[in-house]
């Protein structure tokens, strides 16, 4: 998979017959779109007959035309996902800057494809204090559930972080009802335990919000709202940065949805804070500007 099918075609061009070559050239001319339609379309665009297209596909090493199409599609998918996978030029240093850049691209792409209406619907859901909110995450994404819960708990009551072992999760289920909301974070190497809980919750009529990767966790099939994010980075691990920005966007949305309540609750909780540094230290970088949580600026 390291080299594009286009290159492959160019190489094998010599071993093609005359009309097959026309087919190949037509495909290369508008690659890969031409190969994504039907054989007949391909054939007429190349000015040859259908069987020639099939023979061409066979010569390229595909046992069936569908196989060629699949190859084309996956290739296109990869290419669209990481716009940096241009030619075969491998950047000398795939190091640190790339990683951050790609994480940024992921976030941009994620939000470009996230429908606003979905976000708004979820924000409305999360802002509704009559619904109990349950947050759940996987091996790594549990941290996100926790992070989001920590914020939401300040903004509203009835926020539950489903933590601990799967065995204990069932205990949460008994309290879930039709009006409640389960927010699940699940990215690839999808965890079947999360799916189990989600399905059980769905059967209870719980509204399920799924934050996942662009391949969609199987939980999508029982979810009411799905927020997919880009997670691929040049590392064996996936990046949850985009997931986190989604979480933060939702938090910001809930905060802004009812500014009065947010302000009130935030300042109330400020009173209880004891972990703030009591003795502000003197002359650091300019001023240390603690964001005044009691006075939302947006």
């Amino acid at each position: 998979m390291t080299k594009s099918l286009a290159e492959d075609i160019r190489e094998k061009l010599g071993s093609c017959t005359a009309t097959e070559r026309r087919a190949a050239l037509a495909l290369l001319a508008n690659y890969p779109v031409l190969g994504l339609g039907t054989v007949a379309q391909f054939a007429s665009a190349a000015g040859v007959s259908s069987p020639t297209i099939l023979r061409f596909a066979a010569r390229m090493g595909f046992s069936t035309y569908a196989a060629l199409q699949t190859r084309l599609r996956t290739e296109l998918e990869d290419q669209l996902k990481s716009p940096l996978a241009k030619g075969p030029e491998s950047a000398a240093e795939p190091g640190v800057l790339d990683f951050a850049d790609i994480a940024c691209t992921n976030i941009s792409d994620t939000f470009r494809q996230l429908p606003r209406t979905e976000l708004e619907a979820v924000v409305a859901l999360l802002g509704d204090e009559k619904r109990t909110l349950y947050l759940l995450g996987g091996r790594f994404t549990d941290a996100l559930a926790r992070y989001m819960a920590a914020h939401l708990r300040i903004l509203r009551g009835r926020v539950v972080h489903v933590a601990g072992q799967e065995g204990n999760w069932r205990d949460y289920l008994v309290d879930m009802g039709r009006k409640d909301v389960l927010i699940v974070f699940d990215i690839r190497r999808y965890q079947s335990d999360l799916a189990r809980l989600s399905v059980a919750a769905a059967n209870l009529g719980v509204t399920i919000v799924l934050v996942t990767d662009s391949w969609l966790s199987p939980i999508a099939s029982v979810a009411t709202h799905v927020l997919p994010a880009r997670v691929s980075v040049p590392s064996p691990w996936d990046s949850s940065a985009a997931l986190m920005v989604i979480a933060e966007t939702l938090i910001a949305g809930v905060t802004a949805a009812d500014p009065e309540r947010s302000k009130r609750r935030i300042s109330m909780l400020e009173v209880y804070r004891d972990d703030d540094d009591p003795k502000r230290r003197s002359g650091r970088t300019g001023e240390v500007p603690p964001k005044d949580l009691a006075d939302p600026q947006a």
Copy 2:
């Protein structure tokens, strides 16, 4: 035809039924490739039935599924022909896009200012298995400490997440020594409890790595390495996205620093995994690509 079908879908999303919406989201999640295959593939990838896909296509104004595919193909063709035809995703709505954009800018800025040498030094520190790693976070950043710990624990031994109440933290102190490392996440509304632990650790000769915001937590004065990040976003809350990318960069760095060990440990732990979906569902988009953790690609 001037606007992308993707936008169209996003607009009409409101008038969709629940399952149709899932189809739409699945398509948007990996646009446009998913729409180029067969209906059955689309359906299973979206977790709905075939007729739903057809109904979705109909609601989008296509009399037939083939019409939708044609539209997708021509659009793709145009896009590939003129690479300058950037998505017309203008700033329709300032609210949501701003947030994501600014989060991106934060990340870029953060890494522009992070000295590579610092990163490398910290990576070397974290990769050294002779040192015990302690991770600690604040109210919100505890999730990051947890996230990072979850990864590091796979890559190496002797990783401790300092959790729970401050009172219990002292128990960790007794084990800390001159060779050990404490990674602290602390952003504004800096927490004095974190500072107390850090100072105590510093007095024991522990190497302290601080991940903080650009105004620098007071812990900076006792830290060996400081990694500052941009956290401001248009919300009363701060964004930890840049912190997370820093964490992920470090994780990726440690993974790449000793690929042999990483590979070995990851695959060893894979064996113990029981939470993977045993029955991979059949015909997803191309393939559901679970990143092969046992075979790092970078």
